[in-house]
């Protein structure tokens, strides 16, 4: 299964980027093969969360691990059936370990305020 972690860099030892829509990178991690692919994020001035949700879903991730998710991104991810885990801290490797250990709880609703307008 492919999961997505938002990060400030492209490697396992890079820190989590907590702002989903404006994260620097989306790291796609395959839990079976342990392969890691980085996709750089280039959010526009408007609708960063919407754009990010499309990138994550489009790359086939079934779950996303990040700091917080705003309302627009949440709606997009939920429509795609992507599980959302928030409150991640530390490095990408920490987040993967915590995910595998079942330490995250799923976010039922958006955790951040919207930035629309």
């Amino acid at each position: 299964m492919k999961i997505c972690i938002t990060a400030k860099g492209t490697g396992l030892n890079d820190p989590i980027d907590p702002h989903f829509g404006r994260a620097a990178y989306f790291l796609f991690y395959d839990t079976e093969t342990e392969a890691l692919d980085a996709v750089a994020n280039s959010p526009g001035a408007h609708g960063a969360g919407v754009q990010a949700a499309q990138i994550v879903a489009g790359n086939g991730a079934k779950a996303v691990i990040t700091g917080s998710v705003g309302p627009n991104a949440h709606r997009g991810l939920a429509a795609a059936g992507v599980e959302i885990y928030i409150g991640a801290q530390g490095t990408v490797a920490d987040a993967i370990a915590d995910y595998k250990a079942g330490k995250f709880s799923r976010a039922a609703g958006p955790s951040g305020k919207g930035h629309g307008g």
């Binding site: 408007h46 919407v50 499309q54 879903a57 627009n72 709606r75 997009g76 629309g116």
Partner: protein, 286 residues
Amino acid sequence: MRITIASGKGGTGKTTVATNLGLALADDRPVQFLDCDVEEPNAHIFLKPRIERTKSVEKLLPRVDEAKCTYCGECAKACEFNAIAVIGKKVIVYDELCHGCGLCRMVCPVGAISEVPHELGVIEYGVARGFPFSRGLLNLGEAMATPLIHELKQGIDPDSLAILDAPPGTGCPTIAAIQGADLALLVTEPTPFGLHDLRAAVGVARSVGVPIGVIINRDGIGDDMVERYCADEGIPIVMRIPFDREIARLYSQGIPLVDALPEWRDRFRALYDTTTMKLAREDGVK
């Protein structure tokens, strides 16, 4: 002639300047007043207009016929504002992000997108103290103020002196209120906050090519950083309004300065004469 009163920082005295300028000048020339602070208009407190008619301002929102949609994603790709997303076999329209431009409908290869009107707010038109008064009122919960300001500006009579009271900040609504003006009067206060936001407001006015003059309100408090900034940038300080208990008292009671203190009528007239003369001479107070 079109003068926009703006500030960057909120609460610096935009409406004080705008309303008094209008009242001071209305005896000599046709004036019209436009309250462009559509999220929190307050000029009516001082001008007490009689509203005669209202007009609804709408934007067009896309609606997708999923029976026709092939989920090709062309609409999402075209949208600069990410207001429409195609995720798997789902299309999501984010109404509050949509600017109503209609591009998604145009690029849809199968004609699956139609548009429905959605009210953003209303424009009120009336008369205040003998001159035309209009203001925008953004509906509660709406985020998009700019279309109301564009609609307000449609009502500008080119033969009048139009005074536009801008919203605070330096975002799209403020830019809309400043764009096309012959002069922007930027009201600030001599504090670090005032200076910080003045710099941003100066940047906005310059980016849209509008000459500027600075008005220092609550003169006497804070420090001299605003003056030094204006001197360095070559921006004229065209008026100072002192930090004065009587001025504050009149404001708190909704009484225009020019009504209670006649010397302010002369000062606002002089402000207009000197700034517009300077404009004519330099073709721009850069």
